[in-house]
């Protein structure tokens, strides 16, 4: 059990900066998800914690030890690779046992760490295998296992040595949708049971939202925002996070702030959206903004100020997505499938929930409200 702390960590591969000035504290026992699009540096950040990549600049701590120069084999860390990286020539039992073979462990109180005896090893292996339902597969080789079973073996191999932190690089990406949903729940339970730091890399926001204590959103090597899933969803710090998190993504339309005697509004082409006057106090008249509203915070309302023409309707069973044209942009409205039917060509009057209107600076892309 250890905290992991990046302090101004940069990783360069020649010309490419994979991770740029990352400062991130991962608390002891936390389930931290590194989320971002392909190539944003998630894997590189994870591999630096593991010691499989060196740190170009900055310091990386695990527990109270700076590990920049500590070899991977001495870091007391377990990693589940995307490919699982099982040893093809070893049985499941020997794969799981592998992290116990070379290391020394604190077994006896007050005595220095020592290697485990064969009996102690096999007891720990059995325990790990039992907790992941692998007991019947112990004699098989990885080639004779299904994808889900291999993934479990990789997990068992990770937990058997009770390391101070677990690193996982997209461990669910090779599983089918059903197994993935089931494994997500099991991973959360595993995390609760082990009460150890998890650092989990994914580009799948559903995994991030459902499992994380906190999410760190990365883009092009830079940290965009860190916070609990709900906070990241409800108050995205910039346009990238706003558009990356949420499915379908947040509607974002450029506009201009107008202040009148009665309040504050945003002018979009020929239309206006009223804003909550208090929350948007500091915005001067004429400020260029990008307004963001999530599809579920738009509603059809006869009194709505905004008129938009329906382009398409996507029916998803439990809900439907109505795609409309507004000021030369497409916006999406999420409706329950019980709502009054709409058809392409209809003109809808829409209201935006003023408590859930996000404003961003079009130049810096930072949040304004």
């Amino acid at each position: 059990m250890s905290e992991v702390a990046f302090d101004g960590v940069t990783k360069r591969f020649g010309e490419v900066t994979a991770v740029d000035q990352l400062t991130l504290d991962i608390a002891d026992g936390e389930f931290m998800v590194l989320l971002g699009p392909s190539g944003c540096g998630k894997t590189t950040a994870l591999r630096m914690i593991a010691g499989l990549e060196t740190v170009t600049e900055g310091t990386l701590r695990i527990g109270d030890r700076v590990v920049n120069d500590v070899e991977a084999k001495d870091r007391d860390i377990a990693m589940v690779f995307q490919s699982y990286a099982l040893y093809p020539h070893m049985t499941v039992a020997r794969n799981i046992e592998s992290p116990l073979v070379a290391r020394r462990f604190h077994v006896d109180a007050d005595a220095p760490p020592r290697k485990l005896t064969a009996a102690e090893r096999s007891e720990r292996v059995d325990q790990a295998a039992r907790s992941l339902g692998l007991t019947d597969l112990m004699g098989r080789k990885p080639a004779a296992l299904s994808g889900g079973q291999r993934q479990r073996v990789a997990l068992a191999r990770a937990i058997v040595a009770r390391p101070s932190a677990f690193l996982m690089d997209e461990p669910l990406s090779n599983l089918d949708a059903k197994l993935r949903a089931q494994t997500r729940i099991e991973l959360v339970e595993l995390h609760e049971r082990l009460a150890t730091t998890f650092v989990y890399v994914t580009h799948d926001q559903v995994e991030a939202m459902t499992m994380a204590d906190r999410i760190a959103v990365l883009n092009e090597g830079r940290l965009q925002q860190v916070g609990p899933p709900q906070a990241v969803y409800e108050r995205p710090h910039n346009l990238f996070v706003a558009r990356f998190i949420g499915s379908p993504p947040m509607n974002t339309v450029p506009g201009t702030v107008v202040r009148t005697d009665t309040g504050v509004a945003v002018q979009l082409g020929g239309q206006r959206i009223d804003l909550d006057p208090v929350a948007h106090e500091p915005l001067a008249d004429g400020t260029e903004v990008v307004i963001g509203v999530r599809p579920e915070h738009l509603a059809v309302d006869p009194d709505g100020q905004v008129k938009a023409q329906v382009r398409a309707v996507e029916w998803l069973g439990h809900e439907r997505l109505v795609v409309c044209d507004l000021a030369e942009h497409h916006i999406t409205v999420r409706q329950s499938s019980g709502a009054e039917p709409v058809a392409p060509g209809d003109v809808l009057a829409l209201t935006a929930d003023p408590a859930h209107v996000h404003l961003f600076d079009p130049n810096t892309t930072e949040r304004l409200n």
């Binding site: 010691g51 499989l52 084999k73 860390i77 690779f81 020539h89 592998s98 073979v101 070379a102 080639a143």
Partner: protein, 285 residues
């Protein structure tokens, strides 16, 4: 004519050239060896008569064959383990991502491009008792019957090293990086990683190489011919050397039977390879 028949005919037609070569240069000579082994020439070599299998036992247990076999077996022991170990060492050393590593990989594999004759001439210059740079090294001196075979073996090891290196390197590069990294995170240092992960994963490659090198060693002739002409006092007369020596116009049978004996031994080694490879684990996901 149906599509199937036509496809089959085209297939057979394409096989004809290699079938002709196989029959002409391999199968026919093999049959001829049996025929020659079953006949005996008269003193002038102008006529022969059928003597049956009677000579096979005598020749295959005779002094010539057993002595040649002993020397060839020793030669296998000198060349194969050393060649494998050196090949693995070089390949492991060269299997890393470093600037300029390709230069070393090219140098280490370069002996592939040299022939036995070239290798032998190089070692002739190095080991020759009169002019060689290493003529004073007793351990593989060509002038001592007890050590001459080692000198010949050395040239063979050197010549095969390029092939061994390339094949082992290919085997090493087939190991996924992540498997190696997983071993590092499991707390293994380089030595343990090599013995617990790398070596088992390249063992099918090493098995294949071992068989190839054994066959090469059993067929060794030119090295000995160029470096020592079989001497001193026959100490480097390998089995193929003995076969070559015994082949005369008035006695074609003895050499033929010895050649068949060598063929049988090689066949057994190859069979052993197949059986062991059958048992080998099937990797890959």
């Amino acid at each position: 004519m149906s599509r199937r028949t036509r496809d089959a005919l085209v297939g057979y037609a394409l096989l004809v050239p290699s079938a002709v070569i196989f029959v002409w240069f391999f199968f026919y000579p093999l049959v001829r060896l049996f025929v020659m082994g079953l006949h005996q020439q008269n003193r002038t070599g102008t006529a022969e008569r059928y003597v049956g299998w009677s000579r096979f036992g005598d020749v295959l247990t005779g002094e010539q064959f057993t002595e040649g076999l002993r020397i060839s077996a020793t030669y296998v022991l000198y060349t194969v383990p050393l060649g494998l170990v050196l090949g693995v060492l070089l390949a492991v050393a060269a299997n890393r991502r470093l600037k300029g590593i390709k230069v070393f990989q090219t140098i280490f594999s370069s002996t592939i491009a040299s022939s036995v004759a070239v290798a032998s001439v190089v070692f002739f210059v190095l080991l020759n008792p009169q002019i060689g740079y290493f003529s004073s090294v007793k351990f593989f001196s060509l002038s001592d019957p007890d050590t001459a075979l080692r000198g010949v073996a050395l040239s063979s090891v050197w010549q095969n090293l390029g092939l061994t290196f390339v094949i082992v390197l290919a085997g090493l590069q087939a190991i996924p990086d992540e498997v190696d990294e997983a071993a590092t995170l499991d707390g293994y240092g380089p030595v343990r990683r090599f013995f617990r992960v790398t070596l088992p994963l390249i063992s099918p490659t090493l098995m294949f190489l071992a068989v190839v090198l054994v066959i090469f060693a059993l067929q060794a002739f030119a090295q000995a011919d160029i470096l020592t002409q079989g001497g001193p006092v026959g100490a480097t007369e390998t089995l193929v050397f003995k076969i070559f020596r015994s082949q005369q116009p008035i006695d074609q049978g003895t050499g033929s039977i010895m050649a068949l004996g060598l063929f049988g031994i090689t066949l057994l080694v190859s069979l052993a390879q197949f059986l062991l490879l059958e048992r080998r684990v099937h990797y890959g996901n």
